[in-house]
């Protein structure tokens, strides 16, 4: 046994460290490499340090990385450790080695406390200041709306959302594509407008016309002034016996601009979709400081008083009050969970409110699957979709970190872009308009047992959760995940945990294996979304 790992010496070293006499920096020994090898996350390290080239990550960290403040994994913050524990920095010792051998026992921390939510809180910013996606497609040019509205069709729907559904992949965009298909089948002209300047809140009302992106019957047309579009709509509205307004998202639009279009169209019915909670707060997924589900409390509450979305909420809701007061909306929620939450929190006037699910899961016939959970056949656990905070990606990371050494599980990430984390197998998958079943097919192909749908806010629908069901997987979710938890109850397909700590325990103590076995015993029931 080498000196460095000899237990009595460690005890002495730990005591001495308290007296500012540190253990002698070890030579770059095999032992140092062994400790680093055990703790360094090679995939993470390579992704975070693209300058590594062909350098072995362990060698790099031992020789250079820690001195340069590079983090070896997601849980050890080299720079913070050295800055916080000046005695370690002064001793010139590899801080990861120090933490593992002595620091942990001395009560030192591997990174600043506060958990992942602290970083989210500190990075939170008001909706108006948040960066948004790309602006316009290349070559987008002004068009004359009049010519585009002269096509055949005795009915027209004016569909409004925050981006052009033809160019962006996502839940709302998929739904608008479905709306277009229904319009076509019904011989209805489908006119879609989205802002030219993307925003995560209303556009400021500067009194002037706004430029919009226009798509007609599923074809991108170009750019129009909302005033010109309003004039063209008003001049032709008598041609259309039925006129509808479908408001999918307010973001990027101004209330006066929307009122102009509505006044020109004089719709027989106006639908307001609750794809998210933007009609309750600019923080559209109701995450206080982007970190904690807030339950949409009154705007004058202390919670709104300290939240980044609080200062503007009163004026924002007043603007929405003008919109909802002028246009009688029929509110459509994609789930009962979303509608109940909204009805409990809104003060906006509306005509009717009902549920219309974006898709329904129809399970197929049960198929047998051998129970898993042994080292040679681990339970296959997946996170599906973008690794976003609101979708619970940091919780998944914590779970993998805690359980990656348990051979009863194998963790996957199904996403368009590779995952930079050891212990996770990345599978390329992304549902698109052209291939909407891509995610479900990928999950099914890998025979995923459990999909972690860890959203930290009450999802209004969650395509991912439904894709998981369609793939024959069961779901594991948190209590306050809205329609995800409801879907688990409705289909008796998975487990709901009260919070993150309960989730970690659920996997650590093997109940997740029991769940996967119960799933297998009952028979896998992949199905389809209709």
């Amino acid at each position: 046994m080498a000196d460095l790992l000899y237990a009595p010496q460690l005890g002495v070293s730990a005591r001495l460290a308290r007296q500012d006499t540190l253990p002698r920096p070890p030579a770059r020994s095999d032992e140092e490499r062994a400790v680093v090898r055990a703790e360094l996350d090679a995939a993470f390290y390579r992704a975070a340090n693209p300058d590594l080239g062909a350098f072995d990550p362990v060698e790099h960290f031992v020789l250079h990385g820690w001195r340069e403040g590079r983090a070896p994994n997601t849980w050890f913050d080299t720079a913070w450790y050295l800055a916080t524990y000046e005695d370690i920095a002064a001793a010139g010792i590899n801080p990861l080695l120090h933490y593992v051998l002595w620091g942990k026992a001395e009560g030192r921390l591997p990174a600043r406390p506060g958990g992942w939510r602290r970083g989210v809180v500190e990075a939170a910013m008001p909706a108006a200041a948040r960066p948004t996606g790309p602006h316009l497609p290349e070559g987008a040019a002004p068009v004359d709306p009049a010519a585009l509205l002269d096509g055949p069709g005795a009915r027209l729907v004016l569909s409004v959302s925050h981006d052009c559904y033809l160019h962006v992949t996502g839940g709302i965009q998929t739904l608008i594509a479905g709306e277009l298909a229904a319009s076509r089948a019904a011989g209805e002209i489908h006119v879609h407008v989205s802002p030219t300047v993307p925003r995560l809140t209303l556009a400021p009302d500067d009194g002037g016309p706004a430029w919009l992106q226009l798509a007609v019957d599923g074809r991108y047309a170009g750019l129009v002034r909302d005033t010109e579009l309003a004039t063209a709509l008003a001049a032709r509205r008598a041609r259309w016996a039925e006129r509808r307004l479908a408001l999918h998202s307010l973001f990027g639009h101004s209330v006066p601009g929307l009122l102009r279009l509505a006044a020109a169209l004089e719709p027989g019915a106006s639908l307001f979709w609750l794809h998210d909670y933007a009609s309750l707060c600019e923080g559209y997924n109701l995450l206080r400081d982007d970190a904690v589900f807030c339950h949409a409390p009154p705007p004058a509450s202390a919670a709104c008083g300290i939240c980044v979305h609080g200062p503007t909420r009163g004026a924002y809701l007043a603007a929405l009050g003008r919109l909802f007061g002028a246009i009688g909306f029929h509110v459509i929620a994609p789930s009962r969970a979303a509608l109940d939450l909204w009805l409990g929190a809104t003060t906006l006037p509306f005509l009717t409110a009902r549920v219309r699910e974006n898709a329904a899961f129809q399970p197929g016939a049960p198929r047998p699957r051998a129970p898993r959970g042994e080292a040679d056949d681990p339970v296959r656990v997946a996170f599906a979709g973008y690794p976003m905070v609101s979708k619970g990606w940091p919780i998944f990371q914590d779970l993998v970190r805690a359980c990656r050494h348990l051979r009863a599980y194998r963790f996957f990430h199904f996403a368009a872009h590779p995952t930079a984390m050891d212990g996770v197998t990345w599978v390329e998958a992304r549902a698109t308009a052209a291939h909407p079943a891509a995610m479900a097919e990928a999950l099914a192909a890998q025979e995923i047992d459990l999909v972690l749908a860890l959203s930290i806010w009450p999802e209004t629908f969650s395509f991912v959760a439904h894709e998981a069901l369609a793939a024959g997987a069961w779901l594991v979710a948190l209590a306050e995940s809205g329609n995800i938890a409801d879907a688990i109850r409705r289909h008796e397909a998975g487990a709901i945990l009260s919070n993150e700590a309960a989730l970690l325990r659920f996997f650590a103590d093997g109940r997740a294996i029991d769940l996967a076995r119960a799933h297998a015993m009952r028979g896998i029931r992949p199905g389809r979304l209709v």
């Binding site: 600043r112 406390p113 506060g114 958990g115 939510r117 602290r118 989210v120 809180v121 500190e122 939170a124 206080r288 400081d289 970190a291 904690v292 807030c294 339950h295 409390p297 009154p298 509450s301 202390a302 919670a303 709104c304 008083g305 300290i306 939240c307 980044v308």
Partner: protein
């Protein structure tokens, strides 16, 4: 009932005082808001104090040999020492209830439990801790801290204008006039340590143990913070009336960090407070030296000079203004070889 709330601060704490005043105005719009300015504001900055109904410069308070007395104190000592005289002043004006709040306090909800106590008590105090420490580390950080610097946090004080309230005010103001110093070996800690005696010396003292009052890093270990679904901030389940952002931006950050653990709420409060301070900043006044921190030639006053001034009453007759510089001044006397 006429109620006045005052705070005491130097210009460096003006943004904090403004945030406090705004939060108080929301919770108790009918209370008078008084600022005791232990500093000198340059002319033309009246608007920066508009969140207060009244601004009382320390030099307008009736304090015997005021400049001699001020010279004995560093910034924190002076801001706390003047609180006693200010309390007396407001009681003399006939204010029925006087509440003191530190400038780094934020009011999150009406002080309902304080008002309820004041209906029957003459003096309301909030202890630093209201439950045993939850860990040995917390006992060292918090309980031992209180045993050194005072059981009650004097960031808050409420006094009713009755015989017992006035008797307390007279006693406290006298002690603060005599020795309001951070001299822990002598058993002194500014205005705070004296008040350990108050429950013994006076009747009508209420020790308010409401966990929603004076929540701070020193009691976070037993007062976990949460927001309810209705958006009410709670500590140990009780609605938070006021939170004390003590030493935020300095040592307080580490203590909040230590006792927040994985709970995001303390970090949310800190992030909000930093934004609020930035919004309340007065750049033109930022970085001005404290008016009583230097001699008239702007040489900083060393702490040793204050200690010498305190310790040698015979000097007080020799120097009319200890802040003066130049020949014949106390500053010059200090530099003389002995």
């Amino acid at each position: 009932m006429r109620t006045a709330c005052f705070t005491s601060f130097a210009l460096s704490y003006l943004p904090r005082a403004r945030v406090m005043a705004l939060s108080l105005a929301r919770a108790h719009p009918d209370w008078e808001r008084w600022a005791l300015l232990v500093d000198r504001a340059p002319p033309g900055h009246e608007a920066d104090f508009a969140d207060f109904h009244h601004v009382v410069p320390v030099e307008s308070l009736s304090i015997p040999r005021r400049r001699h007395w001020l010279f004995k104190h560093d910034l924190i000592e002076a801001c706390t020492a003047a609180k006693g005289r200010m309390l007396e002043h407001l009681l003399e004006l006939g204010v029925e209830r006087v509440v003191y709040l530190d400038p780094d306090i934020v009011v999150f909800a009406p002080l309902a439990s304080v008002l309820a106590e004041m209906a029957r008590a003459s003096l309301v105090l909030t202890p630093h801790q209201t439950a045993p420490a939850t860990s040995p580390q917390a006992a060292i950080d918090n309980e031992r801290g209180s045993m050194t610097t005072g059981i009650f946090n004097l960031g808050f004080l409420a006094v009713r204008n009755d015989a017992q309230g006035r008797a307390f005010a007279a006693w406290w103001a006298a002690r603060l006039h005599e020795a309001c110093y951070d001299d822990r070996p002598a058993g002194l800690f500014t205005d705070q340590k004296y008040v350990d005696l108050a429950p013994a010396l006076f009747g009508g003292v209420s020790i308010l143990r409401d966990p929603g009052c004076n929540v701070a890093s020193w009691n976070l270990d037993h007062r976990p913070l949460e927001f309810t679904q209705e958006g009410v901030l709670t500590a140990a389940g009780a609605p938070v009336s006021f939170f004390h952002f003590t030493k935020v931006g300095g040592a307080g950050d580490a203590m909040i960090e230590r006792y927040a653990g994985e709970n995001p709420v303390p970090f949310e409060l800190l992030a909000w407070y930093r934004r609020a301070l930035a919004a309340a900043a007065v750049p033109a006044l930022d970085g001005l030296p404290w008016a009583y921190g230097h001699f008239t030639d702007f040489t900083p006053i060393p702490h040793a000079a204050r200690l010498a001034w305190r310790a040698h009453p015979e000097l007080w007759g020799r120097f009319d203004d200890p802040f003066a510089a130049g020949p014949g001044s106390f500053a010059a006397w200090l530099m003389e070889p002995r």
